[in-house]
Amino acid sequence: MKIPDDSSVLFLIAHPYLQDSRSNRAVVEAVADLPGLTVHPLYDLYPYFHIDTRFERDLLAAHDTIVVQHPFYWYAMPSLMRHWVSEVLQPGWAYGPGGDKLKDKNFLVSMTVGGPEDSYSAQGYNRFPMETFLAPWNQTAHLCQMKWHEPVILYNSIVAQEDQLREHGQRVRQKLAQMTGGSAQ
């Protein structure tokens, strides 16, 4: 594996069965052709769950914008994404004394969520607003001194129609363009 030299957006995608996921595929397809964007499918690269941490860190360091795209699983991220965070974001590199390699990079969470938007509130059956579940990502970005951007979320992801999926893909694409100041369109 090698580090692409003219890429500014790193698009991490963590879905164990990406081919079976209409919503996640739709997002990847919508952004894949953006110039200066590298799609980085974690489950394809590390199906045995052994992560090449040095490569991952070099890759992160080479990009200005980090996007994590994943389905919402049990109110959190899929296990390999979680494992990736634990293995790659080391003290002294990503945070802590001397850990400033992610400083000032853009950070965006892009998620597909099975439940409806209104269920994520005190009155809904999921009882908590989405911010509560996103707090781990939010604080991770903060600890690593990255710039937090408002997450792009597709609710009702499982039952979404084709046009809704296409529309969501465009939202993600526009968000990226806006974040990178038009360098990625």
């Binding site: 164990p16 990406l18 199906p47 499982i158």
Partner: protein, 603 residues
Amino acid sequence: MSHGFLTDIVLLLAAGVLFVPMFKRIGLGSVLGYLVAGVLLGPWGFGLIAEPERMAHVSELGVVFLLFIIGLELEPKRLWAWRMPIFGMGTLQVLIVSGLVAICARLFGLPWNAAIVVGVAAATSSTAIATQILRERNLLNTKGGSSAFSILLFQDIAVLPVLALLPHLAGQAAEKKGVSPWIILLVIAGIMLAGRIVLRHALRIVAGAHLREVFTAMSLLVVVGMAALMEELGVSMALGAFVAGVLLATSEYRHAIEMDIEPFKGILLGLFFVTVGMAVDLTTIAHQPGTVAGIVASLLLIKLVVHFALARAFNISLKERPLFAILISQVGEFAFVLLGSAQVMKMIDPEQTALLSASVALSMASTPLLLLFYDRWLAPKLAAMTIKQPEGAEVHNDHPEVLIAGFGRVGQIIGRMLYANGITATVLDHDPDQIELLRRFGFKIYYGDATRLDLLEAAGAATAKVLVVAVDDQEDSLEIIDLAQQHFPHLQLVSRARNVGHVYELIDRDITFWERETFESSLRMSTEVLKTIGWEPYSAVRASNKFREHNIRMIYNLHAVRNDETKLTSAARQARVDLENMFNGERETLKSNPDGWDVQPEP
């Protein structure tokens, strides 16, 4: 007596076979058994042995072999680490003990020169007795044990100048007969440098011939040849053998040689103790029992006290001190030589010589008794007293945690993986060519057949944690496992399996970890196939994980029902039935990703 050498041998063997088990049984130890046998057979006992001198000469080889084996077990690195105890403690021990004993002897009316000879004789300890015990109790790895051994080594070296000085002490002009010490040093240095390479090459060639008895002959040749060379130079044979042993300590054939020499050593050492017993002059003891007892008691007292003080000064833990002191408390066989020479040079008269020699022999016999006392009374008390005291054992890797039997394609990967993680396994393999190649890459490998109990033992099975059975032959594999389970029940076994039939045998033996040599790699390859035809990588991995899980479960299930059938069917037929069963069972493992998420649970 009119019988000859052969009858002597028969008598000695018979006495050994009779007395040693008896003494061991009563708890007095084998050394005392041999000594008593010697006393009874000797000229002062029943006078059954025709040629005690000739016997004595042959039996000296026992000590030679013993020292050779000790040398084998000591890597030069470790020996180098002992230079301080050897020269520091050794010098002090010899000087202090011989000084004190010389003063006593002077007080009893011996002239100064004779008193000094007696003093030096008294300072020496019995390498044969002490080293035998050190090995039996595995004490060389403790600070006390290694210190005792260091002192013995120093005494062996110190013997050289003492013998050279003897004529001067006697007031005689030294007749120039010995080889100059420079030549001796030169020869030893030459052996140290060239011996290593020459010996290794010779051993490799001989081992390559795959003739067991020739290899044994080669081992004997190395030891006896070295001892003979040293004797020719006027150096102690035992010291020469020790040097030879150290030279081969890092050789891959170390275990094989050790196994070959061990039985010879045992028999000859026994013989040696018998000849010491034969030297005990019963008439002298009977005539002057008080004097002999007094001499023995004072000698032991002086030595024990000095050793105790030395142990303290050199920071040997309180717990180890008594054993250390006892180990080298007896007067050694070298005293016989010194006293004999002194008598010849007219420094002491024959009566004094007889008295002292009897005392020396008795002091040797005292060691097993003192040890008995130590084991029964002192050790338990000390253990209770010093529980908090840290162990004085030094760190070394002579006790590997991991043994790997079989260093073929499977064993090699295991060995390398462990090695990469800082764990040096001891490897047993029987193919010398390959061993040599791998040794160059820094592996610790020994030559031998792992189905032999003594080899496993020599490699450290008693203290290792894990034995990896990676030999390719199924029969050998099972044989090693049976041996290990029988003799080293603490050993965890990790076993390579040739095929499912082999796996069943391993399950029969309750082996918890077995692995078919081809299974995991084949799974990896099948995963790759699925990916290549378009499966998502993680789904492919998941499928192989499920296949493994299912397959292992099925093996245990089939194993349970199989045992009754195997008796009826041939192995080949059984293998086909096994395969068929597996095919049928495995159809169940279809690709199935886990079910998704129910988005609309009951509100």
